[in-house]
Amino acid sequence: MKFIEFCLMSLDKPILGNLSKYNYKVAIVEGIKKLSRANDLILIPRITRTNIEDLKVAPKNMVKVLKVRSNDDIKDPIRLRRIAHAISLTSEALLRLGRKSVEKLYNFDIPVELPLKSLLDAMESQKYLKGLVNIIKAVLRKNLEIIFTACPSKPNEVIHPVMLISILEELGITGTYALKPLTLTPLRVLRSVGYVIHV
């Protein structure tokens, strides 16, 4: 099975080498401007911003991701759906995101990116992760689509997909629900941008 890395922060050779070794086929890279290929990987440009206005002016071929910190960032889901392809949750969002905001996400079919870094940061605070709990519930009950990624910027941050799946299993997302965030959901986002890739 081939996997998709939804957030790659650097284009270092060891990182790309590790990705292709771990059966990744596509990597969505922050900072590049057009589609390219390297190390048997398809590299797709991505832009991440905290302000939705910045995403509006970004080129059409880029995967547009909005960084969400609080409930206020998802106030207008219709506009969000029109501009951004997915939203990325920060550690603050994992702590605070309420039930109604999560409801908006699955009602308007907005995919949610869950970076491993923000998950670990949120876990370090040793507080009740209200947002994470609400999201897991929504994934299991309402089919909210999530994308799980390690967001590697160093070679040691490239995590094997089997390990990522096991982390999801430990969070309570098991079976096909754990496999989808690394394969089908990122692929669906890419198709919504206009990239037809067969994995």
Binding site: K21, L120, N156, E157, I159, H160, M163, S166, I167
Partner: protein, 157 residues
């Protein structure tokens, strides 16, 4: 005479209709009750089966890349430390983690653990990779040490 007969027939018909309706309603209630009992018993049966399930040993073959040289006991300590950080000491004692082999020449190792803790071990290894910079590539999980050694290519076929 005729009126009495007619009244009797009507009364019997009414009684039969009422009894039919009553049995139908009771039947549906009974069915629901039986189904719930079945679901409950089935659940408890599955739970008891899971509890009875024999905990088997598993061997995880992995490849590692480390900038600094690392000894077997050091690696085991690291794995246990991160496992404990994530899941606590109770789970650590149940998991039965031990690093059987850590070959620095071919950069491969084998971890032994109880079968139900596979995903927990992998989560701990992911945390170890992020925090300590030791890149870990899980290759295969096997049921016997013999097979694990074969996959790690530490023993010829």
């Amino acid at each position: 005479m005729f009126t009495i007969l007619l009244a009797l027939i009507v009364a019997s018909l009414a009684i039969s209709v009422i009894s039919l309706i009553y049995t139908a309603s009771v039947r549906s209630k009974l069915r629901i009750l039986l189904m719930s009992i079945k679901a409950r018993t089935l659940k408890s049966y599955i739970k008891s089966l899971e509890e009875r399930k024999k905990v088997r040993r598993r061997y995880l073959v992995f490849e590692f890349i480390s900038e600094e040289s690392i000894e077997r006991h050091e690696f085991e300590e690291l794995v246990k430390r991160y496992f404990k950080e994530l899941f606590g000491s109770v789970e650590l004692t149940k998991a039965g983690i031990s690093v059987v082999i850590l070959d620095k020449k071919i950069c491969k190792g084998i971890i032994k653990f109880n079968s139900i803790y596979r995903s927990k071990i992998l989560t701990a290894l992911a945390l170890l990779q992020i925090r300590n910079g030791i890149i870990i590539h899980p290759l295969r999980t096997t049921g016997t040490l013999k097979k694990a050694l074969r996959y790690a290519k530490l023993v010829k076929k």
